[in-house]
Structure formats: structure tokens, C-alpha cells
Symmetry: D2
Subunit: 364 residues, 4 copies
């Protein structure tokens, strides 16, 4: 009954974050995750509407002067207790705020996709390098016990030689006014918002980079939601040695998220593969289907704690900016292929996990 060893640890041992962009994701997932995690705490909020955010921040026990307007972002420079910022803004605003954060010497965790286009993504990496601050792309899937178990199973050769892969990530986006459907803010449609999970997870699980892309999409003419971005996209990715992946993504179809990685000696299946809770992994062969079990975890908490640990240690995050840049290379090729109706070759990157940094510590 001693309270001595209870979590969380005192703030003095944790890394203070400013959350930049206070919307549903911040309020319902990220801030609760930080507040029930181990290595980070919420030190400040940065918002477009200070007044509205105050009532929210008070509910979370923050002082009123912990809330900043976007325009006053640079005031964070004075806050020694803010060591990192978490950018949770529309894609097209990522570059501006990452660059402003770099300038005032704050480490940056940035939501995926890293930017709204490849050029911006590259510029962000450059800015952070120059300022000697860490930049991490927030790929929560690369920090969970389930997905790491799948990756390790593959790396250990338990599926044999990989032959084919398949991933589906769809859901219905009902609100035509959401910024994700505005090309100027988002840079693209479901490919960049949810298809990114399929692309990024297959890259993560195999440690490989695709060499070519074929894609075909659909953008209905009479649906106000899809005036600017695609509704659906079907993507084929080719890897070294004939390994091929099929990917399906849509803002117009019932929620499904699956991953199948098939080798000649076994299969790894994640279904659901990308849900916030309840990921299920099955490792299968002719003899048995094995479903590894893990203690409950918060995906966002694991991802944020990893970044906080990197801030303290100075190590490169497992998913640095470069990892986010590579997805943008693939997005460009996807859209180009969809326009031209033919295969597009990608820049070659050989080797394993070429863009990744220090592996995260996984929960026991």
C-alpha cells in the first residue's frame, strides 16, 4: 500500500512539452497519453484561440499563462521547462512551426505525414539539423509491442522468405469541411492521412524500401467531400527480389485496417492493424496460429515517451525526420502513377532500416 513506487514520476524527472495545435487528437489522445505516461508532461499549450483553450487548460490544471497564441510561439524560448514541442497542426503548417521551433532551440515531435509535400519535408529535416535539435515523425505504429513482435518474427526468418504483402486502411470521412479534405492544408487525400499507415508499416515490418509504385485512384465528381482530394487509392509497391505489396486506402469505405505479410514458411496478420486500441497479431503456419499477448498500452504514450527519452539522451529517434521524408517520396510517386496510369520507379535505398534511429525500449 506504499505510494512510493507508484507512477507517474515527478515532473522534475520528465520532459516538458508544449502541444502546438489543440484539437480532438490533442485533447482526446495525446494529452491523456502524456498525463498517464512516464517520461513527458504537458508544460504549455499553443493555440489559435487562447480564450477557448483556457477553459480546456484549466480543466487540466494548467496555469493560464501556460497557454500561448500561435503568434507568440517564440515566447516559449524563455521557458526552460519546455524542452520539446509536439506539432499537431494541419499538414501544410508543419514546416512553418518546425522551423520556428528549431530557431528557438526546441526539439520537435511532428505528427504524420511530416509535411504536405516532399520539398517541405526535406526542408524541415535540414532546419532541425542546422539548429541541432531532434526531429521525430510521430509514427505510433513503430512503437507498439504488437508491431515490433511482427517485425522481429520476420527478421528472425520465422515466415521464411517473404513473398507477397497486403494492407487495407479505410474509413469514412463524413465531414466535408474538415481540413483533411482541403488540398492546400492537407497536401493530398487518404493516401497521406491513412494510406500512410499501410505504406509506413510495411516498410517498418520488412525494413525494406520499395523500388517502384503503381497506383490508381478514384475521385467522384459529385461528392463535395472529394472536390480536391481523392476518395480512394489502390497502390502496388514493388520491393527487391520480387516482393510485391497491395495497398488499399479510402475515405469513403467502412473502417478496416489489416496487414498481411506472407512468406513461404508462415504469415503475419494484423487485424485490426492500426486501431488506437485492440491491435491483434497472429503468426500462422500449417501447424498453429499464435497470437502473442501483451499488457495493455497506450500507443501515443509509448511514442511520446520514446521521444522524451531521446531528448534526455540526445540519441536519434527511431523515426526521425528522414523516415517521414521517405514516405513523401512514395506519395509523390503514387500520385504521379495514378495520373499517368503507369509504373513509376523510386529512388533506390538498399539495406535494412536505412532511415531509422535508436530502437525504442518496449514495455515488458
Amino acid at each position: 500500500m506504499s505510494a512510493k513506487n507508484l507512477k507517474p514520476k515527478p515532473e522534475s524527472q520528465r520532459v516538458g512539452f508544449a502541444i502546438v495545435g489543440i484539437g480532438k487528437l490533442s485533447a482526446e489522445q495525446l494529452i491523456p497519453a502524456i498525463r498517464t505516461g512516464q517520461d513527458a508532461y504537458v508544460a504549455a499549450l499553443v493555440t489559435g484561440d487562447v480564450e477557448d483553450t483556457l477553459q480546456f487548460s484549466r480543466a487540466y490544471d494548467l496555469a493560464d499563462d501556460d497557454v500561448y497564441h500561435y503568434d507568440d510561439f517564440e515566447a516559449l524560448a524563455q521557458r526552460d521547462d519546455v524542452q520539446a514541442v509536439y506539432i499537431v497542426l494541419p499538414n501544410s503548417m508543419h514546416r512553418e512551426f518546425v522551423e520556428r521551433a528549431a530557431k528557438i532551440g526546441k526539439h520537435v515531435l511532428c505528427e504524420k505525414p511530416l509535411a504536405s509535400n516532399l520539398e517541405d519535408a526535406k526542408a524541415m529535416v535540414k532546419a532541425c539539423k542546422k539548429a541541432k535539435v531532434l526531429l521525430m515523425t510521430a509514427y505510433r505504429i513503430q512503437y507498439t509491442p504488437h508491431h515490433w513482435e511482427a517485425k522481429k518474427t520476420i527478421a528472425a526468418g520465422k515466415l521464411g522468405q517473404l513473398k507477397v504483402m497486403d494492407s487495407i486502411h479505410t474509413h469514412v470521412e463524413p465531414d466535408p469541411t474538415v481540413w483533411r479534405l482541403d488540398e492546400a492544408l492537407a497536401g493530398g487525400g487518404p493516401v497521406m492521412d491513412i494510406g500512410i499507415y499501410s505504406i509506413n508499416t510495411l516498410r517498418f515490418l520488412t525494413g525494406l524500401e520499395p523500388q517502384w509504385v503503381f497506383a490508381q485512384g478514384y475521385q467522384p465528381k459529385n461528392d463535395p467531400r472529394f472536390a480536391e482530394v481523392e476518395e480512394s487509392m489502390s497502390i502496388m509497391l514493388g520491393f527487391e527480389g520480387g516482393l510485391i505489396a497491395n495497398i488499399l486506402t479510402s475515405y469513403g469505405a467502412q473502417s478496416v485496417s489489416t496487414v498481411h505479410v506472407l512468406g513461404d514458411a508462415g504469415a503475419a496478420v494484423l487485424d485490426p492493424a492500426f486501431a488506437y486500441r485492440g491491435i491483434e497479431l497472429s503468426i500462422r503456419n500449417d501447424k498453429a496460429q499464435v497470437a502473442p499477448q501483451f499488457a495493455a498500452y497506450d500507443q501515443f504514450g509509448l511514442e511520446i515517451d520514446h521521444f522524451a527519452q531521446c531528448v534526455r539522451s540526445g540519441k536519434t529517434p527511431y523515426t526521425p525526420g528522414e523516415e517521414g521524408v521517405q514516405d513523401h517520396r512514395i506519395f509523390e510517386a503514387v500520385y504521379k502513377s495514378a495520373r499517368k496510369g503507369k509504373r513509376v520507379e523510386l529512388k533506390r535505398f538498399d539495406g535494412q532500416d536505412v532511415f531509422r534511429g535508436t530502437p525504442p525500449k518496449l514495455p515488458k
Copy 2:
């Protein structure tokens, strides 16, 4: 992107709780649930070791003078912002603290089982009645969408006439020093700690009270964990109209939690039935197996929000003290039957949901 409608609401609109007893359940489940819920907030902590609790409370942004020693519990009387206390202590301490809370006019949410014996449980109900404060037994299972969907399905007759029921709730308690294995503190073994879920859930799902009990248990001679309490108990409950339930509970067996309610036209199956996360409900007949789907929820949050709403409205909680008393009647009969090796008759309570109060509002 407006932060205006984000949750949680300001504290001024929520009910302040003092958490009495700061251990693993408080730290890992209850406090996070309150802090990410809607209607409650943590205003104070009451603990046996203020020093140890301070580092914990600071991590949660509480002021140092929000932490009280058990001995100073009555100081909460001065705290207008503390409207309710949540008792999270060993069973044998429930009565003392419920009575002390009643005396200073605080409403009480008390962990299950309500007490360590029937007599104490009845005394607690009496004390709260006299003091005109609300008393609620913290049965999280009676507040979730999954279990309510099962209850409504049964009430609507979709399973036909109920015929037989079965429930298993087991897990391995590895630590011989835990208070749950100390009879003076716990009042009994797995029957009262986890078997209670099976008993209480079958009572909840059917709305019926059992009329007789048969039970047989096992207490190994050479296992230090079970020097004082049973390791396992098998329980048979008889209801009106020939409906019989089998229940199995153990501190010595691999974690399993299931409920089967079988009627002549269908079956309701919960598996896992009692886990903190990932409850699965299946309504089955010869034509189809239907698994109702719900948005993610926090079981403790729903339970605590219900009590906070009752505190504001003055309505009787859905699981008041009387609901907890009835489980103690059944525990007494279980232990008596196990000792005597024969059926024990229970006091008759006819009618539906005879001990329950205002139904909770379920999340959409």
C-alpha cells in the same frame, strides 16, 4: 480546430473527489479515469504515507496540501470542493471510512466488495442513510455498454426463456503478502474479490436474485498464499423457475473471464467478460452470431461519472449500498455451503432489479 468544445469540462462544472487509499488501482486506473472523464475531478488524496504520496501527487499537478493522512480524514469537512470520497482501501477498512465520510457529510463511492462481511455492509448502508449521503458500490460492470446491451437483449426476450448460465473468473495471485490473502483485511478469498464479478454480473444481467447456493472450495495445505483464504471455489446458484448458474473462481488459475447466459432461443456470451479493456459480447442463435460494436470507453470513468451525476442530481446510484449488501448475503451462503457440503437457502427477493437505483446514461 476550435478548442471550445473540447473535453474535459472545467473543474467548476465537475464533482471534486477525495481518493482514499493510494495504491496500484488508484494510480493506474481510477485517477487516470477521473482525469480523462467528464464529470469528476481529483481534488484531494488521503493516504497512510503522506511523504510517499507527495511525489506522486506532484506528478499529477496536485498541491501538497491536497494530500491528507488517514488520521486527518476529517479535515476534508472543511473542503467545500470535495463533495465525494472514493474508498479504495482493504475491505476491512471500508466500514470505518464510510462511516467517517458519512459523519462529515461526504457522499461515498466504495470499492467492491462493499465490506469484509455482511454485518459491516449493512451498517454502512445504515450510516449513509442516517447522514443523508449517497452510498454507491463500485461495480464497474454495471456501467458498460457491452454489459447493458446484454442485459437489454435478455430483457427484450431475444434469448427466449433463460435456462442455464455459467461464469468463470480466475487469475493467479502470485504475491503471498498481498492484503487480499489476509483474511482479517479481506474477509475472504477469490470469492469476494473476483468471484464477485460472476455473481454480481449474472444478477445484473437477469435482474434476478438467487434462491439457493451450493459451493465447494479448495484451500491447499502447503501453499503460503492460501494459509487463510480459499484458493478456488465452485459455486452453483439456483434462481426462480429452475434457472441454474455455475460459477468458477480461483486465485490459482490462469486468467479467464467468461459469462454464458443461455435461453431456449439464443445465447449471450461475454468473453472476456470482466477485463479492464477489450470486453467482447456475442449474441447468438442458429442463424447468426452478432457482435455489437461500441466506441472505446473507460469502465472506471463511466462508473465514476455516474456517481458524480448522482451527487449533482441527488438520485440513487444504480448500484447503491444495498446492491453490495446482497452480494455479501450470497458470500455468507457460499462459505456456509462449502463448509457444510450442502445446499444453503437464501432469503427470497422477488421482482426485477430489486436493489438497483437510477440507470446510468450510456455513452453513444
Copy 3:
């Protein structure tokens, strides 16, 4: 493309069976199983209505003189190609036909339950012993890869020490005229017809015999189906070392068949446990849930092939008459306990698999 190694083998290498009792089970399960199996073939049919059976036998390519009336059963003595009989009659007729078969020197495979009461069951074993013919009780569950995998897992200690067990076997018997509801023909209700699966499977999986029984049943007053036999029965079985099992069986409830065997290091779960097709086994602990996979098989085919192999080799079947007798001892105790409302002690049998013979060869 060579037909040389195709199955089935020629009849000359297989054991000829006379099927005694031509109903739904014979027609839809047993005869197709024999005809698609390896070691047996249908050489004759014995029936109460030769005329009706002829059209059926012709559809199965049998000659008209392969069909016998019950009265002419002894004519099988002349049929050298009939080495065994399979008794598929109402329970109360088992004894008569097993004794008649023994007299004419035919080996006997007898449907479960072995008889309609303990006395008959014992007499049948005695008669076959005396006549030096094999007697096997047709427990299909003791011949499948899934149930054997569970048994081996338990025997290898992978679940640790066994602590508690639970089994449910229910279905709705809609037809009030069926012989299974006629006590004179059946000897009892669901306990003996489907509860037998729960009892027998837990005995098989653990290799242990129960030491005591408690049971309570229900027989509705106004349901014509249950004028003579119970509708439901709840059964508690006590084994050595405090291991307890709960069993639930009913002719009035939606089809469910489950087995849970729980140890301190793991659990074996079968669900469905007793279906003709689609058995699923899960071996679980905190690290993983493993579902062993097997090639498709016919449960009846495996059981019958085992008996045919015993006929050829002269070895004792894995489930001889004695195995069936033991279930009758338990039935007697179940009904006695249900009548008296108290625990009934069983005759003690220590050791492992005390009634079982030569283990079956399992399919690869």
C-alpha cells in the same frame, strides 16, 4: 495423376461392419464416414423396417440381401465378411444387441452412452469378455487431433498444476416424440446424451476419475418434452488434489459446447468443443494464445478406423466397455445427488487413464 495410391483401399484390406439401427446418425454421419474412411466398409445394414431401408441401401450400392431385420440379426453369423457390428440403437436396446453380437462372435462398437443404466453396462462388458470379442464405446472425442493435442499439453505440464475446469454442452431438443426423451428407451435425459461429452472429455483430458459429485437439475412441469427426463442439469465433480469441475447440460438451451481446463501456468480452451466439425483449441498463457491447426478430419471416421484396426490387431480399443461403464457410475451419482440435494461420493480409481486401452494412431 496415377490412381494407384488413392484412397480408399480395397474392401479386401478393410474390416466389414454391419450397422445396427438405421436412423439419421447412421445415414448422415456414420455411413458417409465409413465410406470415406480407411479401414472399414459397410457390409450390411440391420433395421426394424427392411422395406424402408432398401431404398436407402440401394442408393448406397448395397445389395438387397445385405439388409437384415432385427429379428434376423443372428444370420450375420454366416457372413464372414462382417467382422464387427456398430450398435446405433436407443440406449435401452444396447444390451440386447451387444449380447446377441457377442454370442455370434462379432466384435462390437457401441454408441454412447454404453447402456441405459450401470447394471446393463456392466453386463455388456462381461458378455463380450466371455465371448472374447472386443467391445468399444463410441466416444468420438477421444479420437480427434484437437482433443489429443489438449490432452498431451496437459500431460506435458504446460498448463502447470490443474486447478479448475468448466464445460458446457447444451442444445434444444425440439421434438417431444424423440426416443431420447422417453426414459424407458434412454435411461435419462441430457446428462446421458450430451452431458456425457462434458464428463467424458474432462476425464479424458486429465486422465483422472472424479471422487465426488454434486448435481441439481430442472424438469419443468408443463413441458411435454420433459415429462420423463430432466431438461437441465448442473453438475460439480471433485477430483483428487482439490481439482473441481463445473458442468452444465441442457436440452432446453441454445447450442453451446465449451471446455476450459485451467492450470496455474496456462489454460486449454475448446470452443466449440464437441461439434461434428470446426473444433477449435486454444492453449493460452500470459504470453500467447496458440491455436494448433490440423488437416480436416472426420471424427466418426477416425473412431471407426481405430476400432477396425483393433479388430485386425486384437488390441484393446482406447475406449473399451469399461470406459463406458465408468460414465454410468457417474450418471448414477449425478441423479442421486440431484434427488438428495447433497454430495455423493464415488468409488475411487487412482492412477492415469485407468479404463483406457491402446491409444489411437492420429492422422498426420
Copy 4:
């Protein structure tokens, strides 16, 4: 206990089949299915090796003169009891035997794929038309309750507007000497043998024909199994209204068979989708996952019984030759696209179920 209404019906009421090609599929699936079905019976076998087939045919109670050599196929003309032939030969032999069957006036059920190329497939349809015999392509998936339930759910609009589809069908073909890996005999690789299930089932479920194809395959250089045919193929199919399907097939990867049909209001998921036994269908939306349940059935039995009913009634089978021809059009486009690395347009067929005949009667 009367045998009067037992199945199967006498042969005189059933349609006699000659099975042409006696291998594993005939011996383990088709003949048992016919023998336990309702409307067909095995009247003759046609084989390349009469001697080897005799021991097999005797085990199945056939007379020795019911076995014919391929060369003597025309002798079936004299057999009035043989009304239909079932062609179970390597793909490249289909045309010859279908044409020979048509010449002697026998109706033809032909295994899938209908032929080894589009030209042969068309010729077979023409030959049967001219001879006025029925020709059916043996697509077992178009005859099961599970797949029909999915089709009806889609047709009733319960998934809303269809948006995207995905199907995987893979297994490891270990034997380099099997005719399926010989291009002269098979006409192609996994696309035509197992990918055909994905293509054909998506066509069946939606009732639509694809308008374009993109495909990329892989044929390893150093694997003797894939000297002549592809190991894997990834296929994208475009339908009217922007509906896109991803298909993955391989002879080199662990057995998986799935179908996802996703609409804006729901999803239909089959997993496994194409196994001989144990098909599981799930109809999903945000409120519930519904798994329709059906009595056990034999897929081959249903398909063959349908054809036998057509033979008796003279109606066009649900999957006539034309249905098989259309898959060959798609195969041609798949291979062409894979060679050229770009989209290939298909001949347009508007309307619903344009190639299909009389729907089958489904089992209750």
C-alpha cells in the same frame, strides 16, 4: 427411427456421372461429395490407367466394367445411365474431352479454369451449344450459402455504395513435378488456378465485370518450380464507377484466402474465403459485426447437385461455359499487363450477372 426419409435418394432418381480424370481431387473431394449428395451418383470412371483405378473403384463398390480408359471415352455413348461427365483433367485437356463429350451427347461439368486459354474456352462453349448439351464451369464458390449471403447483402444495398475490394489467395505448391507448374498443361500459374477464385468471387459478389486490369508478377530465376509459370501475381481490377479491387495470388506463400468488399455503409469480409471447409462470413458496420451461421455443407456436393438438377430440368447452369470464358479474358489481360507494365483495357460488359444462368437452390 424409420429409414423411409433418409438420404440419399435411390439412384434411379439421380443423375449418373462419369468422372473423367481420377486424381486426388476426384478421390478425396468429388466422389465423396457425390456419394453423400442428393441428386447425382457415380456411374463410371474414366482414367489413363485402368489397372490402377480398378482397386480404387472396387473400394467404392463400382463394377470393373464401370472403369474406362481415356481412349475408350466414346464407349460412354452406350451408357444410358451416364447422363453427364465431370472433367477433372489438366487444363489443356479440357477442350478435347469437352468436345468429345459433346459429340456423344453427354452434358459436361468442367473443372475451373474452363480451359488453358481463351480460344479453347470459346471453342468449348461453341461445341456444347452446337451439340445441345449443357456446359457448366465448376465454380464451387458460386454455390455456397456463405457466398450467396454475401452477394445478397451487397445486392440489398446493406453495405451502401461499394468503394474498394481486396482479395488474397495464396498457398505453397511444393512439388516441382505437378502438372500445374507445366505451362503446356496448365496454361499459366497461380493466376489461373487460385487467383481465379479471387477474380471470380469478386465478379460473383458484385455481379459486375471489370473494365481494366493492371498486374505485376514475379517468377524467380533459380526455383525449378517456376521455370515456366509465375510464382506470384498482384492484380488490380477497375470496375464501373471507380470501384477498384486489389488481388494477390501466389504459389509461394503460406495459405491465406480472404475477401474484403467495402462500401460506404458496411463491409463484407470472408476469411477464410475459399477453404473447402470452415468459410467464415462477417457483415460489419459501426454498430455490429454479424456472422451468419449455416448448417454444415459440402461445397462440391452443392455444385454437383446444381448441375444434376439442370440436367434434369434442361435449365442453364448458374455458371455456364460463358462464365468461364470471361475469366479467361481477364487472365489474358493480366498476363499482358504484367508483361507490358501498364494498364490493359477489357471488353465492356454492362449489366448485372451477364454471364450467369439459373440461380442454384440453396440448402435450408
